[in-house]
Amino acid sequence: MSAFGESFRTAVTLVLEADPVLLRTVGLSLAVSATACAVAAGLGLAAGAWLAVTAFPGRRALVAALNTLLALPSVVVGLVVYLLLSRSGPLGAWGILFTPSAMVIAQTVLVLPVIAALSRQLVADSLRDGGDQLRSMGARPVTAALLMLLHERWAVATILLTAFGRAISEVGAVMIVGGNIDGVTRVITTSIALETSKGDLPLALALGLVLLAIVGAINALIGVAQRVQGPALAGAR
C-alpha cells in the first residue's frame, strides 16, 4: 500500500514539477505511438474496408490470419523488424536501427492487424445493415465500405484508441529496435522496465500511472467529442 502511495506521490510530483526527463520521455512515447497509429490507420482502415467487400480465393484464410495476428507478440515484431533493419538485414542500408523511426516501424507492424481486422469486421457488420441501400444509390463496393467507415466513425475512433493503447503500452518491440537509449529512444515503457530492473519501483509505478493517465485522457477526449457531436445518435441507433 505504501509503495502505491509513494508511487502516486512521485507521479504527481513529476507531473507538477514538469520534470524535463519525464516530459521528453512522454513526448517521445506519444510521438512514436501516434505516428505509428497514423500510418497503420491509413493502411489498416483501407485494408479492412477492402477486405470487407472483396471476394478472392484465399480471402477466408487471409481474414483468419489477420485475426490471428491480433495476438501478435510485440517481442516477435521487435525481433523481425530488428532482423530487417540490422546492418546485415535487407533494410540495413537505411541505417535507422536504434532510432525512433525504427520504433515507429515496429509499432506500425504491431497495430496494423488490429486496425485492419477490427475495421473489416465493423464494415462487414454495417454493410449487412445498409449495404443494399448504398448499392441501390449507386455506391460501388469499396465506396460503400469507405462510407461505412464514415458512418461508424466513433467506432473507428475506438478502434484507433485500442491500437494506440496497444502501441504506447508495449515494451518488447521498442526495446529491441530502439535500444532504450537515454534521450534518444527511451519511452515510458522502456523506462518502466529499466527502473524496475534498477529496483526503483516507485518511479516505475509512477511512470505507469502517467501512461495510464495519458490513455485515459485521450479516451475522455473521444467521449467528450462523441457527446458534443451526437447526443441524439446514441438513442437513434
Binding site: 445493415d129 445498409g130 443494399d132 441501400q133 448504398l134 448499392r135 441501390s136 444509390m137 449507386g138 455506391a139 465506396t143 462510407l147 464514415l150 458512418h151 461508424e152 466513425r153 451526437g230 441524439a232 445518435l233 438513442g235 437513434a236 441507433r237
Partner: protein, 232 residues
C-alpha cells in the same frame, strides 16, 4: 417495350427457393403493387428487379429509359450524418454534377417537408421523418424507376398519409414505381397494377380494378379475405 423485364427468373438462398419461374414486365409510368403473405417473395422480387440479388433466368433493363433505379427499404438506412449531408451524398453517388447538388437537395428537402430539419442528425429523426428523408433522397436523383419495400409498414396513420401523398405525386410526375405492401387499401388507392405472389410464384398480375373485382385463384381469394393459413 418494358423498361424492366424478368423472364423465367429464379432466386435461391441455399436450399430455399425464394422465387421461381417469375416473368414480369414493368412499363414506364406503371405503379405496381406487389402483394402477398409474409415470406411470399415480395422483397426478393423487388431486389431482383433492382439487380441486387443473384438469380437465374433473364433480367432485362431498357437502358435508354430505365437506367436510373433507386430503392427505398422498409427500414430506411440513413447515414450518421445530417439530413442535408445524406441528401448531398445521395446526389454525389448518383453522379449528379456538383453545381446541381445544392439546388436539388434544397428541392428535395422542401418536397419532403424537411427544410426545418436540414441540420438535424438523420438518425435522430422519427421513423416517419426518416422514411420521408429516404423518399426525398430517392426523388432527388430523379430515378426512372423507384422500388419501395413496404414504405409505410412501421408508420403511424398520419405519417402513412404523408408518405402516400408523396408517392401519388411521384406517380403523377410520371415516375415508375414498384412497391411491396401488405396494405390492400393502399394498393387499391395507389397502384395501377397489382401482382400477387405466393410461395415465390406470381399467381396474378392484373390492373388494380380487375384484381379486386375479378375471380382469382383460390389462394389469392383466401389471401384477400385474410383466410390464407400459414401452414397451407
Amino acid at each position: 417495350m418494358p423498361i424492366l423485364s424478368l423472364r423465367d427468373v429464379g432466386v435461391h438462398f441455399g436450399s430455399v427457393t425464394a422465387l421461381r419461374n417469375v416473368a414480369l414486365n414493368v412499363h414506364r409510368g406503371d405503379f405496381v403493387a406487389l402483394i402477398g403473405a409474409n415470406g411470399s417473395g415480395k422483397t426478393t422480387l423487388l431486389q431482383t428487379l433492382h439487380g441486387l440479388v443473384p438469380h437465374t433466368g433473364t433480367r432485362t433493363v431498357d437502358d435508354a429509359r430505365g437506367a436510373r433505379q433507386v430503392m427505398v427499404f422498409q427500414r430506411p438506412f440513413v447515414l450518421r450524418l445530417s439530413v442535408w449531408n445524406n441528401l448531398r451524398l445521395a446526389l454525389w453517388l448518383a453522379g449528379v454534377p456538383a453545381p446541381e447538388r445544392t439546388e436539388r437537395a434544397l428541392q428535395a428537402l422542401h418536397r419532403a417537408g424537411l427544410t426545418a430539419l436540414r441540420e438535424r442528425p438523420a438518425r435522430a429523426l422519427s421513423g416517419g421523418q426518416q422514411q420521408r428523408l429516404a423518399l426525398a433522397r430517392a426523388w432527388a436523383v430523379r430515378p426512372d424507376v423507384l422500388f419501395l419495400d413496404e414504405p409505410t409498414a412501421n408508420l403511424d396513420p398520419s405519417a402513412k398519409k404523408e408518405v402516400e401523398a408523396m408517392l401519388s405525386a411521384f406517380a403523377l410526375e410520371g415516375m415508375t414505381l414498384v412497391m411491396s405492401t401488405h396494405n390492400l387499401g393502399q394498393a387499391k388507392r395507389l397502384a395501377t397494377r397489382v401482382v400477387y405472389l405466393d410461395q415465390g410464384i406470381i399467381r396474378a398480375d392484373l390492373p388494380t380494378a380487375r384484381f379486386f373485382h375479378e375471380h382469382l385463384d383460390e389462394r389469392a381469394e383466401l389471401f384477400l379475405k385474410g383466410d390464407l393459413k400459414w401452414d397451407v
